[in-house]
């Protein structure tokens, strides 16, 4: 790892202000992704701001019947929360489908949203990667692209977002709450719908979210329970502890209507509300709209029928 200085933040607003003051600073919470990348010198922060002591580790009920999940709630605790298991089961299921028990014990809610891609060319510092070194090119285009995006990518980048949790949060219409750096002690807060939180790569794949420099996630809120049956079906190369080739998060209502988002196919959790109008007609018409405009490679075009079949399986499961 490159040398860095280290501090423990005293409050969310102070953490944000400290981060904005030092352009090379990064927040560290669970560290399960950041330290991995620092060892490979893909991430080379000058300064780490440890946010673990900020008390953002509670899950509270909101006034409208939803939940506010603190940014530092560990993935294990979020998946095991009785209210999440009962009312937002797709989120528990998605979390439990990701990583290993050891990693889920450290990984946090906010850190999971901010995970970097596992594109092999992002990880290999000898290869061109516009996300890692803007302007260097994309080795994945025409390269080994089995894991990579079929929709939402660009000529600059076809990386996928690796999170399972974020796919469930997208289908649950979650909101990301943040505090921005400010001269005032209390900080300026904002709320970002999860649909707007992650950016598509375009020609700036190195910018992955709408967060501003120093802006700190403090919580993720879920609206009141969506009802219906909750499903998270993840298809991967091993039965456990592997990233998704395709995943389907779905909430299906008794009348056959519902919501669906896909993981493993795009640079962000992939959902299109217009596709959901087709839910009661089956997987094929849903996927025709949800994956409209897909530009798969020879190596990952299997994801299109795989996604459709995974959704068909989910819809069959929902019928019981």
């Amino acid at each position: 790892m490159k040398p860095f200085t280290y501090e423990r933040a005293a409050s969310p607003a102070e953490a944000a202000t400290a981060a904005a003051r030092q352009p090379g600073a990064r927040f560290i919470a669970g560290g399960t992704n950041l330290l991995d990348l620092m060892k490979l010198q893909i991430e080379t922060p000058d300064h780490l701001i440890d946010v673990n002591g900020l008390g953002l580790d509670r899950i509270e009920e909101t006034q409208d019947g939803g939940l506010r999940i603190g940014a530092l709630v560990r993935n294990t605790d979020l998946a095991a929360d009785a209210r999440v298991r009962r009312d937002h089961a797709v989120l528990s299921r998605a979390l439990l489908a990701g990583a290993s028990g050891q990693l889920r014990n450290r990984a946090t809610t906010a850190g999971n949203l901010l995970q970097r891609t596992r594109c092999p060319y992002f990880y290999d510092t000898n290869m061109a990667c516009n996300k890692r070194r803007p302007g260097s090119g994309c080795s994945a285009l025409g390269g080994y692209s089995r894991q990579l995006a079929v929709v939402g990518g660009s000529e600059a980048c076809i990386a996928t977002h690796p999170s399972d949790m974020a796919v469930a949060m997208r289908v649950l219409d979650a909101t990301v709450e943040t505090v921005k750096p400010t001269v005032k002690p209390e900080g300026a807060t904002r709320k970002i719908p999860i649909a707007d939180f992650h950016r598509l790569p375009g020609d700036t794949p190195e910018i992955e979210t709408v967060l501003e420099p120093g802006e700190l996630i403090t919580a993720v809120t879920l609206p009141k329970p969506a009802g219906g049956t909750h499903h998270y079906r993840k298809v991967r190369d091993r039965a456990s502890y592997a990233f998704a080739l395709v995943s389907v998060a779905a909430i299906v209502q008794p009348d056959g209507s519902g919501r669906v988002a896909l993981g493993g196919v795009a640079p962000k959790p992939w959902r299109r509300e217009d596709a959901e109008a087709e839910m009661s007609r089956g997987a094929k018409p849903v996927m025709a709209k949800l994956l409209a405009g897909a530009r798969p490679t020879e190596e990952n075009k299997f994801k299109l029928p795989l996604a459709e079949r995974a959704l068909a399986a989910v819809l069959a499961e929902a019928k019981g």
Partner: protein, 212 residues
């Protein structure tokens, strides 16, 4: 026009100059990952935590992972460095009651924590029941992953007892079962290259009170 080789030489010369400047602390430049200038090592930081019941005080470079602090700082070599990237589980220890990958956390992040390593679970004269079960069931071959497997297994049984569900738990709202499918899924973060998995599952199952 300069040849690529000339450009490379110039780039290296520029890098060398940058390194020299950075060393006197005058440059706060951010470059691409491959050309990041060297930075001076940061001052050591103090951290105190409890390892296997003993209070320990360390002066560490903040870059030191908990794994390296245990192995190099405290000479507790039972915890193993496998991949050093959170993929193999050989470095699994129990931090404040929970199993973690000690390679993916910094020691300075854990003041006041209680850490249990394989050395704290049992001794050669008085094995922890999980250690004894691994011996009885031949739950290893080369043994390199074994300390991590055993720390993980001890924590897995506590997680099931606490009602924490897993990917294979059929009913999220019921108490998880103690069957092989649950144990295999929960142990998937511990890789055994020798392939002792079936014996590992038998060992854990016996400690869990199942008929072996």
């Amino acid at each position: 026009m300069a040849s690529p080789r000339e450009i490379e030489v110039k780039r290296r010369a520029l890098m060398a100059a940058t390194v020299a400047t950075a060393a006197v602390g005058a440059v706060a430049q951010r470059a691409g990952a491959q050309t990041t200038p060297a930075r001076a090592a940061p001052p050591a930081m103090k951290v105190s935590f409890t390892v296997n019941g003993k209070p320990r005080d360390l002066d560490l470079d903040p870059r030191t992972t908990l794994l390296d602090a245990l192995r190099e700082g405290l000479h507790l070599g039972g915890t193993k460095k496998g991949c050093d990237h959170g993929q193999c589980g050989a470095c699994t220890v129990i931090l404040d009651g929970r199993r973690i990958n000690s390679c993916l956390t910094l020691a300075v992040m854990h003041p006041g924590s209680e850490i249990t390593t394989i050395e704290g679970l049992g001794t050669p004269d008085k094995l922890h029941p999980m250690q004894a079960a691994f011996v009885k069931h031949d739950g290893y071959q080369c043994g390199y992953c074994t300390p991590g497997q055993i720390c993980s297994a001890v924590a897995v049984l506590a997680e099931i007892e606490a009602g924490i569900p897993s990917h294979v738990t059929a009913d999220l709202n019921a108490k998880p079962a103690l069957d092989d499918a649950e144990l295999r899924e929960r142990m998937s973060g511990n890789i055994c290259r020798c392939g002792a998995y079936s014996n590992i599952v038998e060992a854990i199952g016996e400690v869990a009170g199942r008929k072996a």
